[in-house]
């Protein structure tokens, strides 16, 4: 009898677990990706930089890289060329500092260079090259020094000049709420 009730409890507990596992898998479609696949595809970098890979680079190294892989579009000094927008505002005669470049975090720059540059072959830069290119762009905007080493630890700590200059039109507004007349969005 005691054996039977333990068994019963075990069965109840097991079926509860099964129900908990099944919860959220109502349709049983899709396959579970491997850790490696997720790691390979997960290139989004958060402002705290927790996804940043190991590696490093300086503006000095970035200058060499810039000449090789970036200058064709961005101009020999980053002063302009095919593009007109960027953290180095490339359409101008000389790089203009913030506030033109409303980028709140240095991780945003790293993330975009990593995923989208160079335009002829996005995603082809090595991790060290992305750190170096990011360092070069930040150095050209007088945000860091030429010899500062950027890596997974130091990059998220770079304070962008416009860090606190992003404001909602109305403080405290949340999606779905009525906005005062004329403040749309």
């Amino acid at each position: 009898m005691r054996y039977f009730s333990s068994l019963l409890i075990a069965v109840i507990v097991l079926s509860f677990c099964a129900a908990a596992l099944a919860q959220g898998r109502a349709y049983q479609l899709g396959t579970t990706p491997s850790e490696e696949e997720i790691k390979a595809r997960d290139i989004a970098i958060s402002p705290d930089g927790k996804e940043l890979p190991p590696g490093s680079g300086t503006a000095k190294e970035g200058a060499t890289l810039f000449a090789q892989k970036c200058a064709a579009c961005h101009g020999p000094n980053g002063n302009g060329g095919g593009l007109t927008r960027g953290i180095v505002p490339l359409g101008n005669a000389k790089p203009v500092k913030i506030p033109f470049s409303l980028v709140p975090y240095a991780t945003t720059v790293w993330d975009f260079i990593n995923r989208a540059m160079p335009q002829s072959k996005p995603g082809s830069l090595t991790t060290d090259e992305v750190y170096a290119a990011t360092a070069y762009v930040l150095y050209r905007n007088d945000i860091i020094k030429e010899t500062d080493v950027l890596d997974a630890k130091s990059l998220p700590k770079v304070r962008m000049p416009n860090r606190d200059n992003f404001v909602p039109v109305q403080p405290g507004w949340k999606p779905g709420q009525k906005r005062p007349f004329g403040y749309y969005p």
Binding site: G24, T31, T32, P47, P99, L102, R115, F166, V167, G182
Partner: protein
């Protein structure tokens, strides 16, 4: 010269018409195989009348899709649905990717209990919904865009409305089991730039669609084939095309296209941020800038209204530049987060008139004039010349000769 090309066009049209009249079987004979294939395909997939096949998006100087805007010819369209081939297109990603749907995967991972990878076939087996939603670029209706703000297509052609079919994103997120600390998602496309946007989880769990069909057919490549996000009522920059990955996270990631390239600066040097929902908007599409009234008499004024607040509840039309307004008739049913067609009877007496419309939505938000919007932001009206996110009333001036022009800065 002009008459010569007119004549040629007429002859071409006549030829096309003749092949319709004589009968298709005979016209197929004696053609090259390639030409024959085109003619056959035109039978299999119906084409507009040769008398009425000139409605196109504006290309401007562009020859390639990069760095251009293809705008919807609102002045030529009726009802509320935008034909898929006329949906506006703003290229942020340097070209349309060529995606084989058999190879395409949608990965959902991050702060979830079970990360999942979906094939297109698996996505299409899930419960689906069809909903009519507009998508509007946040750079739409920038006044006097460029040097030629003369037509409604030029100024307002960055909004389009389709019937989208797909799976609610909430279904997919529930399958993966979102963890309780999560508060945002980061959505990524499979274009060359891997275009990325952050969206609050609350919206993702509410009404965002993972859409694979548009107006009954597969989503067109320019619109995100084989699958895209449709974020109802929100600025279209968040409706990520060519969707390939959703990462569930606990903060906005401030990707490139949602930070430096999206915020508007205001005079105090601050950037306006997190704007999400488009404002109540409306515009008269006929008669509108660049058109010419052939003479006095009756005209039906018609146009479109839309809002990120849900349903448009009222559109008012003024024929005297805003001194007085009367309510227009709304085409029923009115769909939430969709274009809403309005119509208003008007008899032109041959005198100067300024036609404009003003919309109100279900939560009581009212479309402002440019002067009202400028006053609220503490800027001069020409601030909106360069700023995005503008939804002011659009006046069209009818001159005595019947010509119509943009009157926003007259």
């Amino acid at each position: 010269m002009a008459s010569h090309s007119d004549r040629r066009r007429f002859l071409k049209r006549g030829g096309a018409l003749a092949s319709f009249v004589i009968g298709t079987v005979r016209s197929l004979r004696g053609q090259t195989p390639a030409r024959e294939a085109v003619l056959k395909d035109n039978l299999a997939y119906g084409q507009p009348s040769p008398f009425d096949n000139t409605i196109r998006r504006t290309l401007g100087q562009a020859t390639a899709i990069s760095d251009t805007a293809l705008t919807t010819p609102l002045q030529d369209l009726d009802g509320i649905i935008t034909p898929s081939g006329l949906h506006f297109l703003m290229d942020h990603v340097k070209g349309v990717p060529d995606i084989d749907p058999k190879q395409h995967r949608l990965l959902i991972h991050g702060m979830v209990d079970h990360p999942l990878n979906y094939t297109m076939d698996e996505l299409k087996r899930l419960p689906s919904v069809s909903r009519i939603y507009f998508l509007e670029c946040n750079a739409n209706n920038r006044p006097l865009r460029g040097q030629n703000g003369e037509s409604v297509q030029n100024v307002h052609g960055r909004t389009s409305c389709s019937e989208w079919t797909g799976v609610l994103l909430s279904v997919l997120l529930n399958e993966c089991g979102v963890q309780k600390e999560a508060s945002w998602i980061v959505a990524e496309g499979s274009d060359a730039n891997k275009y990325t946007m952050s969206i609050p989880l609350a919206k993702a769990m509410d009404d965002i669609l993972v859409a694979y069909a548009q107006n009954g057919e597969a989503v067109r490549p320019q619109q995100g084939y084989p699958v895209r996000l449709v974020v109802p009522g929100w600025e279209a920059i968040r409706s990520v095309k060519w969707l390939s990955r959703i990462k569930v996270v606990d903060q906005p990631y401030m990707a490139w296209h949602e930070s430096g390239n999206n915020a508007d600066t205001i005079p105090n040097g601050k950037g306006l941020w997190y704007r999400f929902e488009v404002g109540p908007n409306s515009v008269i599409t006929r008669p509108s800038g660049g058109q010419r009234l052939p003479g006095r008499g009756f005209y039906e004024i018609t146009g479109l209204a839309w809002t990120g607040g849900g349903a448009v509840t009222k559109v008012e039309v003024s024929v005297d530049g805003g001194r007085s307004y009367k309510e227009a008739e709304l085409q029923q049913p009115v769909h939430r987060f969709a274009h809403t067609r309005f119509r208003f009877p008007w008899t032109w007496n041959g005198e100067e008139a300024v036609l404009q419309s003003r919309s109100t939505d279900e939560r009581g938000e009212v479309q402002p004039t440019i002067a009202e919007a400028a006053k609220n932001l503490g800027v001069s009206p020409d601030y909106f010349y360069q700023a995005d996110h503008f939804n002011g009333v659009q006046p069209w001036k009818v001159n005595r000769d019947g010509s119509i022009q943009n009157a926003l800065f007259l």
